[in-house]
């Protein structure tokens, strides 16, 4: 077991974060599969808008409800975990609707909110909405005791920062007192058609209406008013989610790849998580090329390899010069080792700056599109 798996053994929630394209989803799924192979009940949950997790698990689709990966499917991949593996993909709109339904005091209020144009727009498309709902879902799952490990996959860094900020931003939206105070009395009196300028009597509101049109503001006012009385419930829950994230049973796992861009973004992310006092559990470097020529010995030239080929009794076609097998072998090994060296240089700022339990996952020569591929990643973790 690697340092990383040991670090995660004591945690119940792992949140995978990192730049795009480094294989975060695969690593998240592998961490869950690893726990299932150790006998645990593990769940992996992705919020990525692209459907990668289903792909990696060999499922055609995943929904907002967790589904168990059937034992038969695992057996096909040569896996017979003593534990259980579950997966789900977050449906942002559904999670919002569930949240509204839970907090609404009565069905009429629920329906009024669910039917509001701005609500529909917001729940599907408001930036950060996805991340907020991921945290909400995580909280719901974490409060159950059906899982020994819940692994959350997140969108790439530019947006992953959002999942720390989104709840407060959206709560600010739902609970802004100034806005409600301004809009609610007029709305409550049923004077929806009231001129916005009259509402505040101020220049600011008139100017604002030039941006958005008056009706948009009135829609928003109606929406905010529907939320009246529900806000406290939302706020308490968001605070609980935030508190959950800094508990020691949670561990953030930084996932990166050996490219300069991924490394610098990973470093920025680590600084941010430290500043927020989030518990970091480890680092995964994914898709590392294998070092085939360790040590200081010079790389073999064509002549040397040509002799070796002959000694091994391998017929090498063999034209002389650049096209000969020996020459191509020599060039290919040199190119491979150049890649290894480039990756090592790219990673050096990470290793000098970040001291976390680490796992290195070699680049596998086939895509991780099924469970047996995923099992290879588990082995490396």
């Amino acid at each position: 077991m690697s340092e990383l798996r040991r670090s995660l053994a004591s945690r119940r929630i792992a949140v995978c974060v990192g730049p795009g394209g480094v294989g975060k989803t695969t690593v998240a799924a592998a961490l869950a599969l690893g726990r299932a192979l150790e006998g645990g009940r593990a769940l992996v949950c992705t919020i990525d808008p692209a459907r990668r997790l289903a792909n990696a698990l060999g499922l055609t689709a995943l929904g907002n409800v967790r589904s168990r990966i059937p034992a038969a499917r695992l057996a096909q991949a040569g896996l017979s975990p003593p534990g259980q593996l579950f997966a789900m993909m977050l449906d942002v709109k559904r999670t919002w609707d569930d949240l509204v339904a839970r907090h609404a005091p009565d069905p009429a209020r629920r329906d009024r909110i669910l039917g509001n144009r701005l609500y529909q727009q917001m729940s599907a498309a408001l930036a950060g909405s996805q991340e907020y709902m991921a945290m909400e879902k995580l909280y719901e799952l974490a409060n159950g005791d059906e899982h020994d490990l819940i692994v959350l996959d997140t969108p790439p860094t530019a947006h992953a920062l959002d999942f720390l900020d989104a709840p407060s931003r959206i709560l600010d939206f739902l609970g802004n007192d100034a806005a409600r105070t301004l809009l609610a009395p007029a709305l409550g009196a049923g004077r929806l058609g009231l001129k916005l300028a009259q509402l505040s009597g101020g220049y600011a509101a008139k100017a604002l209406a030039r941006f958005t049109g008056q009706q948009v503001l009135l829609d928003l006012g109606e929406f905010l008013q529907s939320f009246q009385g529900m806000y406290q419930g939302f706020k308490e829950r968001a605070a609980a989610v935030r508190a959950l994230l800094s508990r020691p049973e949670v561990g953030f796992v930084l996932v990166t790849s050996p490219s300069p861009l991924s490394v610098s973004e990973t470093l920025a992310f680590e600084r941010r998580l430290l500043a927020e006092e989030m518990p970091l559990a480890g680092l995964v470097v994914n898709r590392l090329s294998e070092d085939l020529w360790p040590g200081p010995a010079p790389l073999p030239g064509p002549a040397e390899l040509s002799r070796e080929l002959a000694a091994a009794g391998i017929a090498s076609d063999d034209t002389a010069g650049e096209a000969s097998m020996a020459a191509r072998l020599s060039a290919t090994l040199a190119a491979h080792q150049a890649l290894v060296a480039a990756e090592r240089r790219a990673l050096s700022p990470l290793f000098s700056g970040v001291h976390l339990p680490c796992a290195m996952v070699p680049r596998l020569e086939s895509d991780i599109h099924d469970l047996s591929g995923l099992a290879k990643v588990v082995a490396a973790l």
Partner: protein
Amino acid sequence: MAHPTLLDRHLVFVTGKGGTGKSTVSAALAVLAARAGRRVLLCEVNAPQGRAGPLLAGQPGDGALAELYPGVHALNVHPGEAMSEYGRMVLRFRAVYHAVFENRLVRYFLRVIPSLAELVVLGKILHEARSTRPGGGPRWDLVLVDAPSTGHAVQLLRVPSALVDAVPAGPLRHDAEWMERLLVDAVRTAVVLVTLPEEMAVNEVIELDAQVRGVLGMARAELFVNALSPSAFAPEEGLSLTRAAAAPFPLGPAARAAELALLRAEAGRRQLARARSALDLPTTLIPLFPSAEWGKAQVEQVAEAIAAGWAEEGR
């Protein structure tokens, strides 16, 4: 060399799965367009510090509009600044703008009205795309956008049409309408897709392509398949390589490297074929350039590879 279908457009969005090289391809296309005599604006929206711009400049910049390469201006569009600029445009006078923006309530509304931040970011870009020079004629021949990855790009680009559906008549809707018209204008505007020759990336680009056509209704110009691994070995040599890989140092490691290169190249070819048959788009291949540093030299290398690919296909 000029590329009639891509570089002759006025507005091009580059998108694809995270980590496929969108920023590099965007920067390389900007270089090619500039070399063909176009005045290019390269816009990015992804990272506060920028990606494509610093690649061309060789150093991180402040994201302000600057000529980072002969003929290429770059601009990092931040939601906050785009909002202020939009505000000044609508309100016309700086003094009025301050009076309004210092109002706490106004700031609140601007921040929370659904999708307004995305709308002003996109609005800033589209405004640049249709701005004109003092003497007449467009200010930029080509506005290239290093767009967010798959799902987030679709979210950004569908903001105008979503607002047209959700928002009643008014200034916001008026802006959403002209923006939507420009986005779906197949003569001026197109989406460029970038993928790696890997199964997951290809799955994602196929799905993205369907959304660009179905959800966004935008034209697609071209598919770039990035980081194709070359192999100096033919599939028939695989057996010899496997035998040689079992040999000790130094033949073993050399043969293993060759085996890996062959496997990767074959897998790449399979995925390339899948992408080609699923997307039915002009496809340009970019070889893998292993490097520990990415900067102007590497972008130029990629630009040359793209130009060579275009020349080969007679485009």
